[in-house]
């Protein structure tokens, strides 16, 4: 089966610019996650969707980050405006079970560099 798709793979922007990332989960997976992974650290959950509803966004910096999953399938994550500390890999994952405790499938990630 096809895996989780993400684009772009790499993005370089200047601080205060905007950027958007796209994710297409595995077909049939109702739950979608966005993670931020700073170099040398483990992934940090930013937001979790169940179909097109938000389950948890407690760690999403809502003053600059937004995410949507309008049709319950693919999703976009946006940063506006970007800061230097946003440089990281942004990972998208999907799972069959609502809490993701049995298995999450991760995409390759988008590496963002903010200069």
């Amino acid at each position: 089966e096809a895996g989780v798709a993400q684009s772009p793979r790499y993005k370089i922007i200047e601080k205060r610019q905007s950027v958007a990332f796209w994710c297409n989960p595995i077909s049939g997976h109702a739950t979608l996650y966005w993670y931020q992974q700073i170099l040398g650290q483990g992934p940090k959950l930013l937001i979790q969707f169940q179909n097109n509803g938000v389950v948890d966004d407690s760690q999403l910096p809502k003053d600059r980050f937004s995410a949507e999953r309008l049709k319950g399938v693919d999703s976009t994550l946006k940063i506006q405006p970007a800061k230097l500390e946003d440089s990281a890999v942004y990972l998208c994952a999907s799972s069959l079970d609502p809490q993701g405790w049995y298995e999450q499938y991760f995409g390759p990630g988008t590496r963002l560099t903010v200069t």
């Binding site: 996650y33 040398g40 483990g42 990972l91 809490q99 999450q104």
Partner: protein
């Protein structure tokens, strides 16, 4: 959510069995223990999950003692292709119990 403690890094010779131990003293009754593997420039990949005793699949074995306060991931024959970061996670499907990654263990080939 139970906190986990695992070594920051380990190294091993190729061909040897590698064991990575994770401590989770505050594990709850409903919590499962899950391990993920992450290669450079890739997203994490689910390896194995267990609740108690021993679980084995084609990739690894997971040993969980009776008190469940720790667990050990075992890779039977370490090879260069196993070089990755390994994450131990503890939790359950209870509402609000989100998957939380720690810093992981960086496993490398011993020179």
């Amino acid at each position: 959510l139970a906190k986990t403690t695992q070594p920051i890094s380990m190294d091993s010779y190729e061909g040897q069995e590698v064991n990575i131990t994770c401590s989770h003293n505050n594990i709850a009754t409903n919590d499962y223990i899950t391990w993920y593997q992450q290669f450079p420039s890739q997203g994490p990949r689910f390896i194995i999950q267990g609740y108690k005793t021993k679980v084995t699949n084609e990739v690894a074995s997971l040993f969980i003692p009776a008190d469940r306060k720790s667990s050990t991931l075992s890779l039977p024959r370490f090879s260069l292709s196993d070089t990755a970061v390994y994450y131990c996670l503890v939790g359950s499907n209870n509402a609000g119990n989100m998957l939380t990654f720690g810093g992981g263990t960086r496993l490398m080939v011993k020179p």
